[in-house]
């Protein structure tokens, strides 16, 4: 019977190391199945976060052979031969074993200014299909936070967490900025306080997204172009002056957090 060797990170904030487990190889298993078998046999105290086992809850994010993956969607037979390394997400503080503290993301979520629609017209709000479809892609996000984990801006530079929202929230900002009913202008906020300029579009967030959201092409770059419209385009600036169109400031947007 073929065997599989798993090198799993065990430890907490005080330190840790790899533990090696050798198990029987079962056909069709995913990494999460093997982790569960380790819990059931060798290490009942092995901590790991999971829920749906269907790639829809975003709970079982970890790093498999050094790459952020959903453990429940990573088939063992797709991995190269040899020991399989499983470690917690590197960008976030460890709680225990494969479980990390992802509260950074909830802090960033709380900073997102909410949708600001105009007063309800008679008959209610109406959105057309082409506008609905544009934002629909961003709604597929399952908040696995692997895009945040792989983003080198915070993965390799902890200090940037204070002024960088990260790819998951750039798609939220993009969705709001592209919403036809939204009257808020978050461009100053995104540039000044959410650190859009820190992103150097290396597209790792897009590569790891389990929902295949084109984070860079459809959210981050369009946001960067909107910031260019507001700050680096003299033609757009002249157009605003001629039309006397006021530009909202970061402070205006920031006073309207999500409920």
């Amino acid at each position: 019977m073929a065997e599989v060797t798993m090198r799993v990170w065990r430890g907490d904030a005080s330190g840790g190391d790899f533990e090696t487990y050798t198990l029987e190889q079962n056909e069709g298993e995913v990494v999460l199945d093997v982790i569960h078998r380790i819990q059931a046999t060798d290490a009942p105290d092995l901590a790991c976060r999971w829920n749906c086992k269907a790639g829809k809850c975003g709970s079982c994010s970890a790093e498999v052979n050094g790459k952020p993956r959903l453990m429940c969607m990573t088939r063992m037979d797709t991995l190269p031969k040899g020991p399989v390394t499983v470690t917690p997400m590197k960008a976030f503080p460890i709680i225990r074993d494969l479980v990390t503290d992802v509260s950074f993301n909830y802090v960033q979520a709380a900073k997102v200014p909410a949708l600001m629609p105009p007063p309800m017209p008679e008959g209610g709000y109406r959105m057309f299909q082409e506008d609905v479809e544009r934002g629909q892609e961003f709604r597929k996000c399952i908040e696995c936070f692997m895009c945040q984990d792989v983003c080198h801006v915070i993965r390799d530079h902890e200090e940037n967490k204070e002024h960088y929202a990260g790819p998951r929230f750039f798609i939220r900002y993009a969705e709001l900025e592209m919403h036809p009913l939204d009257q808020n202008d978050r461009r100053d906020l995104i540039r000044q306080d959410m650190g859009l300029g820190y992103c150097n579009i290396t597209k790792c967030c897009t590569e790891v997204c389990p929902e295949h959201i084109k984070i860079t092409d459809n959210a981050i770059i369009p946001l960067k172009e909107r910031v260019v419209d507001a700050h680096y385009d003299p033609v757009a600036w002249l157009g605003r002056k001629i039309r006397r169109k006021p530009k909202r400031s970061a402070a205006d947007a920031a006073v309207q957090p999500a409920p």
Binding site: A13, P80, I94, Y106, V107, H152, Y198, P222, K224
Partner: protein
């Protein structure tokens, strides 16, 4: 501190899990940066050499052809050879005319979102590949000079469109064979393919997509711009392919014109 302020305060400095190693990846992640460095370095060396040559960039009526290298078009320097000179010329400029114009295509590619991704990874190692450690101790991204200048991309895009029009004009003129009439040669096909690839590269550009319609909040309210956006969006998905194809082909076009102009080969007439 209010409840809102406390809920939006980032806690820094928690202990991270996993070993303190640059990467745990086992695949050959280094291949992509190596290939990128090889191609871009080869292109920079060749284009710099070609730009300083200041000869063999035009094939004229002596051999019944009208072919000009894209590195030298529009030829607006005072030293341009007869037949190649553009309607407008800076006669005081006696160095290679390529040095006057290459700054625009170079700027377009240098500030291109796709090339930025490639050279930040390959040359600057920031990061060299996904989940491989950044090679720098601190990082400010594109928030400061000089990388703040990447925001000028759309102006280079505009300049690139002008060059595309001129290179398309060159391709049309290439069908003209002075003294023989009109016909198709390998050279005309090379120049036409080159212009086509440059158009595809420009139209698939992210700035183009934004300016076509990406910047509007409501597609329903801007149906024409929505149509433009719908047209360029599939092209945008292939921007990487067009970026590499047009880069390699523009160099090959110069090589071809250079070989014909120097007499090393003759431009074969197809019909």
């Amino acid at each position: 501190m209010t409840a809102l302020e406390s809920s939006t305060k980032v806690q820094l400095g928690g202990t991270r899990g996993g070993p303190d190693e640059p990467t745990l990846r086992k695949d050959r992640w280094w291949i992509q940066p190596v290939v990128t460095v090889a191609i871009l370095t080869a292109f920079v060396i060749y284009s710099t050499w070609a730009a300083f040559q200041n000869k063999y960039y035009y094939v004229g009526s002596l051999v019944h052809r009208d072919l000009i290298s894209p590195f030298y078009s529009p030829c607006i320097g005072g030293s341009c050879v007869p037949g190649a000179k553009f309607a407008f010329a800076v006669n005081a400029w006696t160095l290679s005319p390529a040095l006057l114009i290459l700054i625009f295509p170079l700027g377009f590619r240098l500030t291109c979102y796709y090339y930025r991704r490639s050279y930040y990874r390959a040359f600057w190692w920031s990061p060299p590949s996904c989940s491989v450690a950044d090679a720098h101790g601190s990082y400010s991204g594109e928030t400061r000079f000089p990388l703040l200048m990447q925001n000028l991309h759309r102006y280079f895009f505009y300049a690139g469109l002008v060059f595309n029009v001129l290179l398309t004009y060159d391709a049309v003129l290439a069908f003209r064979q002075p003294g023989l009439g009109w016909g198709v040669t390998v050279g005309t096909i090379v120049l036409t393919v080159n212009a086509t690839l440059l158009w595809l590269y420009s139209l698939s550009c992210h700035a183009c997509r934004h300016l076509c319609g990406g910047q509007v909040k409501s597609f329903k309210a801007h149906p024409i711009r929505y149509k433009f956006w719908k047209f360029v969006t599939p092209l945008n998905a292939k921007h990487m392919n067009f970026a590499w194809a047009s880069l390699v082909f523009v160099a090959l076009t110069d090589v071809y014109v250079r070989l014909v102009a120097s007499g090393a080969i003759s431009d074969y007439k197809l019909f």
